[in-house]
Amino acid sequence: MGRFWSLLFLTVPIVGVGIFVWAMADLPGMKGHWLPENINPQGEIIDSLFMFILYLTGAIFVATSLVLFWFLWKYDASRCAEPVKYMHGSHTLEVVWSILPAATLLFIAIYQMNAWADAKMRRPTLPDGSLRPPLAEVTGRQFEWRIRYAGKDGILGNEDDVSIANDLHVPANEEVVLKIKSQDVLHSFFLPNLRLKQDVVPGMKQHVWFKANRTGVFDIVCAELCGWGHYKMRGRLTVESRDDFNRWLDLQSREQNRAEFTPTTGEAE
């Protein structure tokens, strides 16, 4: 039976790698079972870091799993005639297999830092060096995304703001900054196609930024449990050309019946 069990452990790396390769190659049965379309240059960096770690850990996974298989195959008690190697370890080996992984891990950590800073710390600036102002404000509340654009005056937070639920439009190929917050419980503003995620926390104001380089309609997902209706807290992100965007915003602000609009509680600055 030793052969059988060793082979069972050999199937782990084979099937494991097989499933990943199958998914990455988009083969039948697993079509679209890989990183979803990415439309954000920042997201490309994240994807390439993901792939980098995947190849690295994949190699370690295959190597250690093969070693495990080989030792089980070779040292199966019912077949192996060699006497047991009576030994308690090897100082040299311990040092080698501590230092190598330590250096690798440290390298991976440092290698990520720039991308992290770009994603969360270096907010885009205007040509004059000041921080780029937010295009819109997104507020999570049970169970919808409230979106507000500055009206004609270009200032966010006063009466002529345009207020919409769940329908975020942004211009393509431009740096977009959004101000995000929550009105009640935690939510998480997750744009899978832009590799962007940020929890929104009541009492905090945060900013996210991205540049969408393809037009189309994409999902806005709530990724932090926010109550029974969490699953239906779905928004849509429409990326369109600057002209379309302006036209759309114009239409929204004209359509908005001011008499009916009352700013919701908690949104006042």
Partner: protein, 603 residues
């Protein structure tokens, strides 16, 4: 330490002949002070909760594979109000209670409570724990926890629904989760009681291991199981107070309106504005300050037991005993400075994310060292593929996957995308189910003869292993792929999203595997119960192992040893040239012929 303990065998003999009075029965088996009985009480209770947690998981899997359809058979039993269909509120309850039960009522108490209790005195050569009464209390404090958690199922929406992480404001503002008033409060009380139980246990384990070792049992002659239990007890002793305090703060926020975790003026679903002064993220820091060390509480003892099983069935000394001890300690130490990796996108200062990334990466190092040493142990041995060994080997194989997926999430930019997706779910099921739970199965098969004096059926055990191994990978490996698509966790119906709609068939496959996996456990339950009465009776040392528990009778009577164990060496002297057998018990005196004495190599 008593040396004449054979008399207690009479007591157990009376039990079988039915001549025991009710009072004696209660003293022996119910409010027992004997660490072995307490260990078994923990074992039986946690195995029952394991069943509960497994059924809750099937509820989750049902909803993900066949959303909004009636769940056959158990559906009507569990939620008759909805006609067998899972409501979205109940879905939040399902995953909250599944995780809570599995973490706080199965894994932590089965490792520390069941195996810690049963093994520590036996493996160090003591007659019992240092504080038997405290030990008994640590079990009986589980009962209020059982009752509180059980009660939380009685109020709509029939269980707490704020996740096992219980993040405020959702968990604090009752209006935010309508109906959750009592369910969530009971949840908090239940988890706090588990904490008290673990605390009582860990004080006892620390004292016992430090004070009660048999003559000759130095710290570096302890089996790795005991080292792991020792370090785990330290982790618990230092991390638990934080959770307990945080739990009380949340309780006060809920019932007294203190507002530790609520910002000023917060209104959720028409609640009264919060008086404020608090911060929701504060809870996350406190919670993970406990719960990250807790994930190691949930795996270190398993690692220890796996080391013992692997050395025994490779018939070879453990490779790198001291590096193993140091890496257990290293994991524990680093474990206190990595909690922020659960909060990379929580709104915490991104600068902090950088430091937590570095510390988290470094914690993968001791884990890697352990894997290499296990492989080194197998190298050059004589591997016997017994059921416990198969489970232990699968622990190694699966822990590699779980450890490596941790690196993806430790990388902050990558975690932006995969945080709160099924990638995380894959990660922790590989370390906790494919890792710890499989190790626990192995440990049960391994120490069962010591617990009950009979073997579990090996053939049935191997079938149980094979099917569990197959189905667990079918269930959990594919979760990595879902995670790569960004498939979010905790959604009752993710298929509303265009991005995830096409993932339904994959989820159905996973759910079928999950159902089969739970079904397979019937084999285990049968084997476990059947062998108690009809298993082949064994002597003291059925596996030919070295550590002290195998020199005691199976099962050991009250007081454990019928002689005074004296320890001459470490527990891993398999294949030693000093003796003709391929094992060399810790209590066996060295050979008298000086030519046979083996000089230890320098390394």
């Amino acid at each position: 330490m008593s040396t004449t303990t054979l008399d207690t065998h009479d007591t157990s003999a009376h039990g079988h002949t039915g001549g025991m009075s009710v009072g004696t029965f209660i003293k022996t088996y119910v409010f027992s002070l004997d660490h072995k009985i307490i260990g078994l009480q923990f074992l039986f209770s946690t195995l029952l909760w394991f069943l509960v947690g497994g059924l809750l998981a099937l509820g989750i899997r049902w909803q993900l594979a066949w959303p909004w359809t009636d769940m056959p058979v158990i559906g009507r039993m569990l939620f008759s109000a909805e006609g067998g269909q899972i409501s979205p509120e109940f879905y939040t309850t399902l995953f909250t209670m599944h995780a809570t039960v599995m973490i706080f009522f199965v894994i932590i108490p089965i490792l520390a409570g069941a195996f810690g209790n049963f093994l520590i005195p036996l493996m160090i050569g003591a007659d019992d724990m240092a504080f038997p009464t405290l030990n008994m209390l640590s079990y009986w404090f589980m009962w209020p926890a059982f009752i509180f958690i059980g009660m939380s199922f009685f109020w709509p929406p029939y269980g707490a629904g704020a996740g096992w992480t219980s993040y405020p404001p959702l968990s604090v503002v009752t209006q935010a989760a309508p109906g959750s008033d009592w369910a969530q409060t009971m949840w908090l009380l239940g988890v706090t009681m588990v904490g008290i139980s673990s605390m009582l246990g860990s004080v006892n384990y620390l004292t016992t291991i430090i004070q009660m070792r048999a003559p000759g049992m130095t710290m570096f002659r302890l089996p790795l199981t005991i080292w792991a239990m020792f370090i785990t007890a330290i982790l618990q002793a230092f991390a638990l107070p934080v959770l307990t305090a945080a739990g009380f703060m949340q309780l006060m926020d809920r019932v007294l309106g203190t507002g530790f975790f609520l910002p000023e003026g917060l209104i959720a679903n028409n609640s009264d504005p919060a008086s404020g002064g608090g911060q929701p993220i504060l809870w996350q820091h406190l919670f993970w300050f406990y719960s990250h060390p807790a994930v190691y509480i949930m795996i270190l003892p398993a690692m220890g037991m796996v080391s013992d099983i692997i050395a025994c069935f490779a018939r070879k000394p453990i490779f790198g005993y001291k590096p193993m001890v140091y890496s257990i300690s290293g994991i524990a130490g680093l474990g206190f400075i990595v909690w922020g990796h659960h909060m990379f996108v929580s709104g915490m200062n991104p600068m902090l994310g950088m430091t937590f990334m570095v510390s988290t990466m470094m914690i993968a190092l001791p884990s890697a060292v352990k894997v290499f040493n296990w492989l080194g142990t197998i190298w050059g041995g004589k591997v016997q593929f017994t059921t416990p060994m198969l489970f232990a080997l699968s622990f190694v194989s699966m822990f590699i996957i779980g450890g490596l997926s941790g690196i993806f999430m430790a990388a902050t930019p990558v975690d932006i995308f995969i945080h709160d997706t099924y990638f995380i779910v894959a990660h922790f099921h590989y370390v906790l189910f494919a890792g710890t739970a499989m190790a626990v199965f192995g440990a049960i098969y391994f120490w069962y003869p010591k617990m009950f004096g009979r073997m579990m059926d090996e053939n049935l055990g191997k079938i149980h292993f094979f099917l569990t191994f197959l189905f667990l990978n079918g269930t959990f490996f594919t979760m990595h792929i879902l995670g790569a698509v960004g498939f979010p966790r905790r959604l009752a119906d993710p298929y509303d999203y265009e991005t995830f709609r096409h993932l339904l068939p994959m989820n159905q496959f996973m759910s079928i595997c999950a159902i089969c996996m739970v079904g397979t456990q019937i084999l285990f339950a049968f084997n476990f119960i059947y062998s108690m009465f009809y298993g082949a009776p064994v002597g003291r040392n059925p596996w030919g192992a070295n550590s002290l528990e195998w020199t005691a009778p199976s099962p050991p009577g009250h007081g454990n040893f019928d002689f005074q164990p004296i320890v001459y060496r470490g527990p891993y002297e398999y294949g030693s040239p000093e003796v003709d057998t391929d094992f060399y018990p810790q209590t066996q005196p060295p050979p008298t012929d000086p030519k046979r004495i083996h000089k230890p190599e320098q390394h």
